[in-house]
Symmetry: C2
Subunit: 124 residues, 2 copies
DNA sequence: TTATTAATGCAATTAAGTTGCAATAATACG
DNA sequence: CGTATTATTGCAACTTAATTGCATTAATAA
């Protein structure tokens, strides 16, 4: 199952790199308008995730956002920071701010996900 | 538009009170099995929200969970705590643990939502 | 006891994402 | 370079969670 280098894949990768933030399928679809099918975008993004070059996070708007893995170790994506979703430009970014908490006694942690919405510097 | 006291409404309210945690429509539907329509459950729950007796929160599984308002002031629901969703019993509960963070300069806060998944004391 | 209209049930729709399948096109190999 | 292999694509159809339209039912005010 060797991956192939297709125009769709290249274009989506470029968008992710240029954005320097997490993008939703919806957003990418808007950017590539008509160049490729809706489903292709989903499939390319999910393949990126399988390959560990991106990860997807479910935002507090119920949609998935895809971002390039930078500080993610293989199959252990770093998510212990807050995610910010701008209601203006709709960009999603990772904040420096770490998420910290202590679980009640006897609880076992599996995952955590913290979202902040508002307006980013340029949109405020 | 005066509200009426229907069996559906009563039953759902009792479930919410008994649960002492946030419930999804799915969960409520399972509990009332066949007594009322799926859509009715959604409508009752959403009316509760309109009336300020419950609030709904979108969990990190993409589903809405409804909980009675206790420490919520009118139209200003208190959410500055972590929410815990148990992967075993599927219960959602509010933790004591407060969510704290400082936004980068120039950012404006609108809302925040923090979720932790794992196994609660009885399921661990 | 009846009239008003909120609430319900059922079918259909929306939104985000996934799946099946035949057609297309990267790429490995002779 | 030409061909075979099979990953990738596009289109239609499906899934899941939730909402909407509309005719019918049933709280409740009179």
């Amino acid at each position: 199952m060797n991956r192939r280098n297709t125009p769709a894949k290249k274009m989506i990768m470029e968008l992710l790199q240029a954005a320097n933030s997490a993008l939703s399928q919806e957003r990418i679809e808007a950017e590539v308008k008509g160049v490729m099918d809706r489903v292709t975008i989903y499939r390319v993004l999910n393949r990126f995730c399988e390959d560990g070059v991106t990860h997807k996070i479910l935002a507090d708007d119920g949609k998935f956002y895809f971002a390039l893995c930078h500080s993610c170790e293989e199959h252990n994506h770093a998510h212990d920071h807050f995610h910010f979703r701008c209601l203006g430009c709709e960009k999603v970014e990772c904040l420096q701010e770490q998420v910290t908490f202590t679980l009640p006694d006897g609880y076992r942690l599996q995952n955590s996900s913290s979202w902040i919405t508002g307006y980013c510097k340029s949109c405020a």
